[in-house]
Amino acid sequence: MTTATIPGVGRVPRKYVPVLVTAVLFLVMFAAGGIRYEDFATGQIILNVFIDNAFLLVVAVGMTFVILTGGIDLSVGSVVALSTMVAATLLKHGWSPWLVILIVLLIGAVLGLGMGAIIHYFEIQPFIVTLAGMFLARGLCFTIDTESISIDNSTFVGFAQTRIDLGGEMWVSPSVLIAVAVVLVAAYILHYTRFGRNVYATGGSEQSALLMGLPVGRTKIAVYTISGFCSALGGMLLSFYMLSGYGLHAVGMELDAIAAVVIGGTLLTGGTGFLLGTVLGVLVLGLIQTIISFEGTLSSWWTRIFIGLLLFVFILLQRLFSARSRQ
């Protein structure tokens, strides 16, 4: 079995190495922050990262499905924005909040389904199709309203302000619980269901998967549907967080999601990666922001610079691994 020796850990299967690297990176960053800043090394800091990035985590989960099949979904940020916009508008007109959430989730899933169907049936690159979806969804936001619409519905405000106490002066928002639930369900699906394994097989080799008699087309359409659904759900979490709907919400979030997935060790070529890696990827991105805000003097654009550097490092790392496994 292909293994790699890691000092102090012993031999681990090579497939877990990228995730481990990300985990180690996270711990190192956390420890460094704890040494450098007072009040940093607390559980609540990590929980805050979850609270501030719950929506990104949900979106990145959907993105993980897509990237595992070897595809890409550029539309997620725009679908998030569209979701906040639709929700805010419908709530303003006095619709029931639960019905609004249902409708928004449905819209996201249907958008994903449509893009997946176009990708599969017309054999067009996912990059192009989802790029078109990105423009479409973003444009639709501004046909609804060019201004930000605030949300004052009591259910949404409740979601935004509820604190769930975990004891020891630690708390999370309901959004975090939703995001964690999404991660657990998705991890189960990827690991313990036929659909999940088909996702990996499709990403490994679409041609082989076809010849092995796996439903490749259905799998591909399904992952874009899941990504669309997760984007809509991410949009809901973002509107709990922002309490507004706006066409300029979540600009560039698709890139953050992709970055999180890649930093989490999932190969862009598909077939390799874990959802745990994606969670760690989101945590690393969030922790960078936290550290920069603790630093105080650095502009928030330093976050981008660090993310950029990290991406380079991780892509090089992947390159090395795939080059070695080919031999």
């Binding site: 079995m1 497939k15 490994g204 041609q207 082989s208 092995m212 008699g213």
Partner: protein
């Protein structure tokens, strides 16, 4: 002993592609518990027959019976469900998944929709254990050799309760010990009553493993024989389509010629492509390479041109040791190579005749020193006339030319480099008779002018007509080097190819 009833029977199978009758009234049967080889030269219809059987193509005529019932498969999947599994030359599995998953994906053991990983690994272990393969089934498939991957593919195939297992050239990228392992597995499956259809270009392997063989030629059935009742010489004769006695001696053999050794390859080889061979080519000499498809002819030529990296051995040119690590190095040493695959590896169909001809010379000069247009026109006109390229229009796009004229353009490209050794890989394949004769004449003329030529062709007559010396390849080994004198006939060559020894 009475023969058991065939598990598969195909009667009068016909398949037509636009302009070609790929299969014409072919009968074929498979008995349970036998290894049945499907034999034939390239284009004989072997792969079409397999594709018809596995539902990739629909049949135009004839019937297929499986276990006594008439069947028609709409897709490979349908054939698989009916018990016909195929393992292709390139392993069609997902190397990113574990061994166990590759065997069971799509049919994973589940409870309440949840995959039972432990159960799956246990069953995979058991299944591979029965094939006497002891590996860690939870490891990724990519961590194992191609041979193991092939076994895993077979394990997957037989686990789908296969009655018929089709192995399409499974051995072409395996080494000797891996082939032995595969054969052991095949014998076991045979004992379990599975009918195995086996395709391979390696005659020795056929004679080692197959009980019975069906020979096809030009889409027609030549015959079905027990392996034990047909000698290798008879088999090759049937595949090529001539009884050996009928082969006539050819006239116009080239006169023997004495020249200084130009290229001396010593123990040149590459694992998996060709065993180390030693070959000397003299100035002005035409050396023919004969052998069946897949015998290593092209592989040998590619090593001499540096298109593939030689794993062992050395090459001397004009007595001096040279390293032919890249085609560029070979070109610097005045070696030119006309690929057999002129569409994929030679011509650029979107460029004109002039641009295609000038390409290699320009590459040799380097892109910073463009060839002046006047020089280009001069060269191109000269070779269009010399090789009689039609239409004689240097601005014509290559893709609009016939195959024969495309081949001449390829030749022209290399000839303007004035090579000392010209390697021609199947230069006359797929072109009409007239152009063929012209190219043959040209080869003779070039060799008269002192150029050495390595001539690769599947047509033995052609090889004999042109060559001073013939190298015979078989199973990726240079098995004989024969001077082309009065004693050598296509008959004798066929015998050598078939028996594996010079007579």
């Amino acid at each position: 002993m009475a023969e058991p009833a065939p598990v598969l029977r195909m009667r009068g199978i016909g398949k037509e592609f636009p302009g070609v009758k790929a299969l014409d009234g072919v009968d074929f049967r498979l008995l349970p518990g036998e290894v049945h080889a499907l034999m034939g030269e390239n284009g004989a219809g072997k792969s079409t027959l397999i594709k018809v059987l596995t539902g990739v193509y629909e049949i135009d005529a004839g019937t297929i019976e499986l276990g006594g019932r008439q069947v028609a498969f709409a897709s490979p999947l349908a054939a698989q469900h009916a018990g016909i599994s195929t393992v292709y030359q390139e392993v069609n599995l997902c190397t990113n998944l574990s061994v166990a998953e590759n065997i069971f994906i799509g049919r994973e053991p589940r409870r309440f929709g949840r995959i039972q990983w432990g159960e799956m690994r246990r069953r995979a272990d058991e299944l591979l254990g029965r094939l006497e393969i002891d590996i860690d089934v939870s490891a990724a498939l990519s961590s194992y050799s191609l041979a193991i991957q092939q076994m895993v593919a077979i394990a997957r195939a037989v686990d789908i309760d296969a009655q018929v297992l089709i192995l399409d050239e499974p051995t072409s990228s395996l080494d000797a010990s891996e082939v032995a392992q595969l054969f052991r597995v095949m014998r076991q499956l045979k004992e379990q009553g599975i009918a195995i259809l086996f395709v391979s270009h390696f005659l020795d392997q056929i004679y080692e493993i197959a009980d019975r063989m069906t020979i096809l030629r030009n889409g027609k059935l030549v015959g079905e024989h027990l392996t034990s009742e047909l000698s290798q010489v008879e088999l090759v004769g049937k595949m090529i389509g001539r009884e050996l006695a009928e082969l006539e001696q050819l006239e116009g053999r080239p006169p023997a010629r004495e020249g200084a050794p130009l290229v001396e390859a010593v123990d040149l080889g590459r694992t998996g492509a060709i065993e180390p061979f030693t070959l000397t080519i003299h100035e002005g000499e035409v050396v023919g390479l004969a052998g069946l498809l897949g015998s290593g002819r092209t592989e040998a030529a590619r090593l001499l041109f540096g298109a593939d990296h030689a794993g062992s051995g050395s090459v001397k040119i004009g007595g001096e040791q040279v390293g032919l690590r890249t085609p560029r190095a070979a070109i610097r040493n005045k070696i030119a190579f006309c690929s057999e695959n002129r569409r994929a590896e030679g011509l650029i169909p979107e460029l004109t005749v002039r641009e295609n001809i000038i390409l290699a010379l320009q590459a040799a000069r380097g892109w910073t020193r463009p060839i002046p247009r006047r020089k280009q026109d001069e060269l191109v006109d000269k070779y269009i006339t010399a090789l009689n390229i039609r239409p004689a229009n240097p601005d014509q796009l290559i893709r609009n030319l016939s195959g024969g004229n495309q081949q001449k353009v390829m030749l022209a490209r290399w000839l303007i480099l004035e090579p000392r050794l010209l390697i021609l890989d199947e230069p006359t394949r797929g072109i009409d008779v007239g152009a063929k004769a012209e190219i043959q004449r040209l080869v003779a003329e070039l060799s008269d002018g002192g150029m050495a030529v390595l001539f690769i062709s599947a047509e033995l007559e052609e090889v004999l007509r042109l060559s001073h010396k013939v190298g015979v390849l078989r199973d990726r080994r240079l098995i004989a080097e024969i001077d082309n004198d009065e004693g050598l006939t296509t008959d004798a060559l066929t015998e050598t190819i078939a028996s594996g020894a010079a007579t």
